[in-house]
């Protein structure tokens, strides 16, 4: 059954990708891209990558679709039909690169081969030892937050930097309370009622994903995205100006920085207590307890940063849209 799902989903991915190449309507492209990412996420579940699937589900169908639609609202909807130089050169480059890559795959071990080199080094130790060394069932979480905690600190910093970048590119400083992004969907009663019921559910689910991440799929990255998505839903249904009154952009900027700092401070705390940077063993009275505390705090930091960055990015886009509307009038 794994292979059946695998082949069908691969086929669907190919169909969507080719359709995206041919399509001119950018809106249709965004829709197809969201289908593409849904299909790839079910593909990840099929290949046992539950954490990756959770992330892709939250990011691909939610945040990136919303951001792309926001961009389309501010630019234009159609790709200009314009004869360019014959497509032969790009096609040739692509064909050559593809042929080289396929030649490269010939040396790779077969799909799902348990004897592949990738499964022989480092990983057996993670799988065998993480249960006793870290003491949490989700191996992905223990690698993410503990064994490779330094990597994750870097990634969190990258997310933070991207958030800052969007803020510098699109954010307008100064008063923006009087702006609004126009008629919200507030007039639609069914949507309003359902939205009101769903937002708290999503926030609850975000907390569940955050704190259950050590036992099942989940963790700071996913939880942050879901929390941001809840506020985005609120903002879409009730209007951006209302959402801003609940959580102000200034507070978001502070949260962005606080999350990364929390992560780094946990590392420094390890150093002060006599271990290495990001060594959680020394945080508690016994190593596994220290690991628990460390992973909990680190994931919390990641969650706060990711949620704040995603929401701040969305608010920046919405603010730009509102400014555009104001200038257009």
């Amino acid at each position: 059954m794994v292979n059946l799902i695998d082949i069908v989903l691969m086929g669907l991915l190919l169909i969507t990708a080719f359709a995206i190449v041919r399509m001119r309507d950018l809106f249709a492209i965004v829709m197809l891209f969201s289908i593409y990412s849904l299909a790839s996420a079910s593909f990840f579940v099929n290949l046992d990558a539950v954490d990756v699937a959770l992330t892709e589900a939250a990011v691909g169908a939610g945040i990136s679709t919303v951001l792309m639609l926001g961009t389309l609202a501010m630019t234009r909807r159609h790709e200009e039909r314009r004869p360019r130089q014959p497509h032969l050169l790009p096609l040739f480059i692509v064909a050559v690169t593809g042929a080289v890559l396929i030649y490269g795959t010939l040396d790779m071990p077969h799909f799902a081969d348990p004897a592949a080199p990738i499964h022989q080094h480092v990983v057996p130790r993670y799988i065998e030892q993480s249960g006793t060394e870290i003491g949490i069932p989700n191996i992905v979480a223990s690698i993410l937050a503990s064994y490779r905690g330094f990597d994750t600190l870097g990634e969190t910093a990258v997310v933070f930097t991207a958030g800052l970048g969007v803020l510098t590119l699109l954010g307008r400083f100064g008063r923006r309370e009087e702006l609004s992004d126009g008629r919200s969907m507030y007039h639609d009663m069914i949507l309003r009622v359902i939205g009101k019921a769903l937002v708290p559910l999503m926030l609850l689910f975000a907390l569940y994903v955050q704190f259950h991440g050590e036992l099942g799929p989940g963790g700071g990255f996913q939880a942050g995205v879901v929390a941001a998505a809840a506020f985005i839903l609120y903002s879409i249904v009730f209007g951006w100006d209302r959402a801003q009154k609940i959580i102000s952009p200034f507070a978001l900027n502070i949260m962005m920085a606080c999350g990364v700092s929390l992560y780094a401070l946990v590392g420094v705390a390890g150093m002060l207590l006599g271990g290495e940077f990001l060594n959680y063993n020394v945080l508690g009275s016994y190593p596994a307890g220290g690991q628990h505390l460390g992973i909990f705090l680190v994931e919390l930091g990641v969650g706060i940063t990711v949620a704040a960055v995603m929401l701040s990015i969305y608010f920046d886009f919405a603010a730009r849209l509102a400014v555009r509307k104001l200038e257009g009038e």
Binding site: I5, V8, L38, V50, V66, R183, H212, G216
Partner: protein, 90 residues
């Protein structure tokens, strides 16, 4: 029995993708995307039932929540565009 349900859902997904690629209107594409989303939820639920693991159902739950946002966001921007067009006409 699971395999029959899986096959049925995969067929539905394929038809939905074809509809999304063919169009012809944007609403058809959104409808197909929405249907693809609900069927993805079901597919993942079945996969986790086959694996017998309750924690994989979380992913399906996540989809059920997020897919809704996608659809609503699309409709929101549709309204935005129709406002723009109204303004352009008046």
């Amino acid at each position: 029995m699971y395999i029959a349900a899986t096959a049925a859902i995969l067929i539905v997904m394929t038809l939905a993708v074809i509809r999304a690629v063919m169009g012809p209107t944007l609403y058809d594409r959104i409808l197909a995307g929405n249907m693809f989303g609900t069927k993805t939820v079901l597919l993942i639920a079945i996969m986790s039932a086959v694996a017998g693991r309750a924690d994989m159902v979380d992913i399906a739950l996540m989809y059920a929540l997020i897919n809704f946002i996608g659809t609503i966001a699309v409709l929101r921007y549709f309204e935005y565009w129709s406002e723009e067009e109204e303004k352009a006409e008046s």
